[in-house]
């Protein structure tokens, strides 16, 4: 398989369609192509957790991360989301890109039990951040992801929740490392976002986490990518 460069991956991902009418209550914020590309590229090149692996994407929405992993040579990826409208866009994306190794499942991630333990090699996700209405949902996603993954979970979280996640990680006996700090370049997608002013979420750098299932030599590598953005 031809090796994709970061820039090429990002420009491919720019063709991925995202939510037409994002649903606020489901916290449907698209993963931006730049963030998705940086995240996936690192997972692929630094940790080799994509190529020939089975990958789950929890709360996949329109499938940005699943599609990106398929482009980087994932053996098979499955997207899970509750919203049929988002999955329909996901499906048309798959057809546009002519990708053959992706499937999607409509379900409530919060109700996935631990019966799917270790069915996937890697979980890559941008879960709802658990603001106002959905408090704690980010941790439910993380816990479910850890049960499903055999090797590692990669997840985007708000920086302000890092300490809490660290605490939970210790509690669950998994090792957490911060891989990157990314700045969300979120265009105003909801009416309450005033154009050109930064919404709360935009100013909030979010951290990309790697949560390996089993301890291994620490490769703690934290780098700031904020300047790439502003």
């Amino acid at each position: 398989m031809k090796k994709l460069k970061l820039k090429e991956l990002e420009s491919c991902l720019q063709q991925v369609d995202t939510f037409e009418n994002p649903k606020l209550l489901l916290e449907q914020y698209p993963t931006r192509p730049h963030i998705a590309a940086c995240m996936l590229y690192t997972i692929h090149n630094t940790f080799d957790d994509i190529e020939n692996k089975t990958i789950a994407d929890l709360g996949c929405g329109c499938g940005m991360l699943s599609i990106g992993s398929a482009m980087l040579g994932a053996g098979f990826s499955v997207g899970f989301d509750i919203d049929a409208d988002a999955l329909e866009i996901f499906n048309s994306n798959i057809e546009d890109f002519e990708l053959t190794n992706i499937n999607m499942v409509q379900c409530d991630v919060c109700s996935l039990s631990d019966s799917m333990s270790e069915t996937f090699d890697t979980v890559i996700m941008n879960p709802p951040f658990g603001t106002k209405h959905n408090k704690g949902i980010d941790m439910i996603f993380l816990k479910t992801a850890l049960q499903m993954a055999k090797t590692a979970v990669y997840s985007l979280h708000k920086t302000s929740t890092r300490q809490h996640i660290q605490k939970k990680a210790d509690e669950w006996d998994v090792k957490m490392e911060v891989i990157a700090e990314l700045r969300y370049d979120l265009p105003a997608s909801y009416k309450f976002h005033k154009k050109r002013s930064l919404s709360q979420r935009t100013t909030c750098p979010s951290a990309s986490l790697r949560v390996p299932k089993y301890s291994e030599p620490a490769t703690c590598f934290t780098h700031k990518e904020a300047q790439l953005y502003c």
Binding site: P22, L24, G75, F76, D83, S115, M116
Partner: protein, 112 residues
């Protein structure tokens, strides 16, 4: 849905006995076949992790159990590849022992 996805999923409908939610019953209303590039290394890695029994229920063309030296047996791997990745069934899989998969309700009801 591809049979690989079917094989990876367990039904998590509450009320079923533990471990009894699998495999989802297949009601393939329209089966189609779409070619997928063959990746021997990937399929070989998958084989030991599959629930072979569930796969046999869906596909009669497979041997009762994988041969001991399946990793080098390309013909076998190609058959598994075809069944897992190229055959697609329409319809909604059902959990065993009756009952349907109720479509998930958004936890918070509707959209904006």
């Amino acid at each position: 849905m591809k049979l690989l996805t079917h094989n990876l999923l367990c039904s998590n409908v509450r009320g079923l006995r533990p471990g009894g939610g699998f495999p989802l019953r297949i009601q393939a209303s329209d089966v189609s076949v779409r070619p997928v590039p063959f990746n021997a290394a990937f399929v070989a890695r998958l084989v030991p992790r599959l629930r072979w029994g569930a796969l046999l229920e869906a596909a009669e063309s497979l041997p009762p159990e994988p041969a001991p030296d399946y990793e080098g047996d390309e013909a076998f791997l190609r058959r598994v590849h075809h069944v897992l990745l190229e055959v697609r069934g329409g319809g909604t899989p059902k959990p065993p022992f009756g009952g349907g998969l109720t479509p998930p309700k958004p936890p918070l009801g509707g959209g904006v």
